[in-house]
């Protein structure tokens, strides 16, 4: 068991290393002189420009810049934003909370409605509830999140005036959470329905039913628990989708957050900020997936054995 953990942990080191290398390489070819970007059009003497160049380490050969870059990533020091001239880590830290709130809200919406609809239709296949739920789920995976967001703003924010559109606190989180979680609702509902259908045909369920156990109890005690395993493994993918959704949703709802920071940083060519955001999100994603994998291994040892083989 321990050796499995260690092996998995050691396995992500090269993955992280390659991803950082790729990011470094990509950002080397971003167009525009970093000194100009750093100065953001401020008039500056040649001397000042040389200073900036030195401070950015641009006078050194690429290899030493690369080594220096890796060292700074490991230390968590990713330099100063070109735009605000503040350490990027501070700004990323400041924008982390709203994005986590949004992701949590989206996850909640996704889990609550996704699981409910999935169970509803999985336990009553081919009923009208099943058809309705699956149509809803199909809409969930087919609606572009920015359109969902606009419709929510239009109907619930402007026409019915039920929820605030901007601001802080939970009320202002409702519409963005729905917009970011709707995709998850569709995804989870479909997944859970199909796994329930599969599980329901298994022997122990049929035995349970034959023994006269209550239908709902069977569903909850056995079917659902088993049916939840595949969705849990997919949480890593869902996390990526939530981050993607945050990019869009934060823009439409004018919410601060990492997604909006990424878009404005790209458009403003704030290279250190883009670099930091991409490194943090991918590293988090990789680590998150590892944790999910490990958890899954704990839940179901068969997987562990299969994967470590």
């Amino acid at each position: 068991m321990t050796s499995y953990f260690l092996r998995r942990l050691a396995g992500i080191v090269p993955v992280l290393f390659i991803s950082w290398t790729l990011i470094f390489a990509v950002l080397q070819i971003i167009p525009g002189d970093p000194v100009n970007l750093m100065l953001a059009g401020r008039p500056a003497s040649q001397e000042v420009r040389e200073n900036v160049r030195r401070n950015l380490g641009l006078d050194k050969p690429i290899l030493s810049r690369y080594v220096n870059f890796l060292w700074r990533v490991v230390r968590g020091d990713l330099g100063d934003s070109y735009r605000t001239r503040q350490p990027v880590i501070r700004e990323v830290g400041a924008q982390l909370r709203p994005t986590l709130e949004l992701a949590a809200g989206g996850l909640l919406v996704g889990l609550v409605f996704g699981v409910s609809l999935g169970v509803l239709s999985g336990t009553r296949p081919n009923s009208w509830a099943d058809t309705g739920s699956m149509m809803f789920a199909l809409a969930g995976i087919s609606m572009p999140s920015f359109w969902t967001a606009m419709l929510l703003i239009f109907f619930f924010g402007l026409k019915l005036d039920l929820f605030p559109i901007v601001g802080e606190g939970l009320p202002a989180l409702v519409l963005p959470s729905i917009s970011v979680g709707f995709f998850l609702v569709g995804n989870l509902a479909r997944l859970i329905r199909s796994t329930i259908l599969e599980v329901m045909t298994e022997d122990y369920i049929r035995t349970g039913k034959a023994k006269g156990l209550n239908h709902l109890r069977v569903v909850f005690k056995h079917a659902l628990r088993n049916a939840m395993i595949p969705p849990v493994t997919l949480l890593g993918v869902q996390f990526a989708l939530l981050i993607g959704g945050a990019v869009i949703t934060e823009t439409v709802f004018a919410r601060p957050g990492l997604g909006q920071l990424l878009v404005t940083s790209v458009l403003n060519k704030d290279v250190p900020m883009v670099q930091a955001l991409v490194i943090y999100t991918t590293s988090a994603y990789i680590v998150f997936n590892l944790i999910v994998d490990l958890l899954y291994g704990v839940i179901d040892p068969r997987i562990r054995d299969a994967r470590s083989g």
């Binding site: 002189d33 953001a40 401020r42 001239r85 509803l120 802080e168 606190g169 823009t251």
Partner: protein, 530 residues
């Protein structure tokens, strides 16, 4: 199952109620301003060139001289006089003024502010131009200074009232460094800086010691407003919705349709500022491509129906503009109105004359195998770019619009990689013309300047310098007329419409007041409406 689902639903719907208690309720008056831009990078008056940053800067700082409309009032200076040779300005400074950090305001602070603007390490983008031919500041006493210029500077009075030349706390700058000060500004103004959460909000609080308000205000002493909050909400429809929901109290740059509907709504007040300075205009790059030919530039202008364009885009709120100064700017010359009026036939004839014909019938003209194609990076007013694009397409231009942000525009300007750019400027003085038309302001790689047409005309340069130095009002007026005429004849600058600041606010408040230039809004006088 159904019951479980409905319980979950009920819990979810009840969440908003829980949240209500976390919304912050404050005693005292709070004004929340919804801001249309979110890319603020400094709140240092000496550095900024952004009208959006100035919206907050002018609440925090005081200039030596205040201006309201066309009148000047004592600010941090109680009186001033100009030397006979027009080279020196002597200021008597106000007594008993302190910066928000407790530093006393004095001659030293004035000298520090102006000298530091000249320091390339600071990287001033606006103040450096506003300060003109600045030479030095002499400290004559604790509360007396003399500011010297290298040449007579006719726009000096107006310059000293600009937000960019507000006085900063020397101790705070020394303590925090320039970059630190940009994020933690310390001034003498009616509001003190509290915090700045990037992309979210800037918070100010009342300066309780403030008793040096200029005389044009309705009251004296500290403001009735306890807190000023700026919320960054770049999306217009979201900003308007936030205003209606009461989450902000005043919104800038609402759409004309919103303005129309608020004008008949008792819950809201509106203010429309007709901005002085350079109107919203196109600058033609005269150093590359088809626009090197003045005939092509003239054709472009004749192809656009400006009155109709202004009406369509602003629903009647904005007037068309014709020359390099907007009609509300002092020394505006109305002769510009007869230039380049809408005449598509003429436009087509000019293009034919210049050798551009549509030989393959695709609607786009060609010459020597080149298409009449122009690259238009658009930073402001995307709708205007689309309208212009469609107008000139009718006479055979192919305009490639790309919506850009400032960093990309900077890159394109440095690389001289654009055909058409839009410009606008808030200013109360025709002296602003030196900024986009003097050859010393042609951008170079890495150096951001505003002569985007890249006009290099020694005659025009001389006129601009003479006008800046001219001290007799008649001479000045004559020179600026000549300058405006010359710019029009050169066909390098295409004014489209007056800039409008369209502000809507909750009618629970009154006392909002435009700063000179009619863009920013001053909050000092705001009270609860009765």
């Amino acid at each position: 199952m159904k019951r479980q689902a409905s319980i979950l639903l009920a819990v979810l719907l009840a969440l908003p109620l829980v949240g209500l208690s976390t919304g912050f309720a404050q005693d005292g008056l709070t004004v929340v301003w919804g801001e249309d831009r979110s890319d603020h990078s400094t709140l240092d008056p000496r550095v900024t060139q952004s009208r959006h940053e100035e919206q907050m800067i002018l609440q925090i700082f005081d200039p030596l001289i205040y201006r309201d409309g066309q009148d000047f009032y004592p600010g941090l200076a109680t009186s001033w006089e100009v030397s006979d040779d027009d080279l020196s300005w002597t200021f008597q400074l106000r007594e008993g003024v302190t910066f928000h950090d407790g530093t006393p305001f004095n001659a030293e602070a004035v000298k520090f502010t102006f000298d530091s603007i000249q320091d390339p390490e600071l990287g001033s983008q606006g103040a450096i131009d506003v300060l003109g031919p600045y030479a030095s500041t002499e400290i004559l006493g604790d509360l007396e200074v003399r500011v010297n210029f290298e040449r007579p500077y006719a726009a000096a009075l107006s310059a000293f009232s600009e937000t960019e030349l507000s006085i900063v706390s020397p101790t705070a700058v020394q303590e925090l460094g320039n970059d630190g000060f940009a994020r933690n500004p310390v001034g003498t103004g009616p509001f003190k800086f509290v915090s700045w959460e990037a992309g979210l909000r800037v918070t100010l609080e009342r300066n309780e010691d403030y008793n040096w308000a200029p005389a044009f205000y309705d009251h004296q002493g500290p403001s009735e407003v306890e807190r000023v909050v700026l919320r960054f909400i770049p999306d217009t429809s979201t900003r308007v919705a936030a205003l209606e929901a009461g989450e902000i109290n005043i919104a800038d740059l609402v759409t004309p349709l919103d303005l129309l509907s608020y004008q008949s709504d008792p819950d809201f007040g509106t203010m429309v500022g007709n901005v002085a300075g350079l109107p919203f205009s196109i600058m033609f790059n005269t150093t590359r491509g088809p626009l090197m030919d003045p005939l092509v530039r003239q054709a472009f202008m004749h192809a656009v129906d400006r009155p109709r364009l202004a009406e369509n885009l602003f629903f009647g709120f904005a007037a068309p503009a014709y020359g390099p100064l907007s009609a509300s700017t002092p020394l505006y010359w109305d002769g510009v109105e007869s230039y380049y009026n809408y005449d598509p036939e003429r436009a087509m004839a000019l293009l034919e004359q210049a050798g551009w014909t549509d030989s393959d019938g695709d609607g786009v003209r060609e010459k020597d195998g080149e298409e009449l194609s122009l690259f238009f990076p658009s930073l402001l007013e995307p709708d205007t770019a689309v309208a212009v694009q469609a107008e000139v397409a009718k006479v055979g231009f192919d305009v490639q619009v790309e919506n850009v942000l400032k960093a990309r525009q900077d890159e394109l300007i440095f690389a001289n990689d654009y055909d058409v750019l839009v410009i606008r400027w808030v200013s109360n003085d025709p002296g602003v013309l030196i900024i986009p038309f003097h050859s010393r302001n042609i951008p170079e790689p890495g150096i951001f300047k505003f002569n985007w047409s890249r006009i290099d005309d020694p005659v025009l340069d001389q006129l601009l310098e003479d006008a800046e130095a001219a001290t007799s009002p008649d001479e000045r007026a004559a020179l600026y007329q000549q300058i405006q005429q010359m710019i029009m004849d050169g066909a390098t600058f295409f004014a489209l419409h007056d800039q409008l600041q369209m502000v809507a606010f909750s009618s629970d408040f009154s006392g909002f007041r435009f700063a000179p230039g009619n863009w920013q809004v001053r909050f000092y006088d705001v009270t609860r409406a009765n």
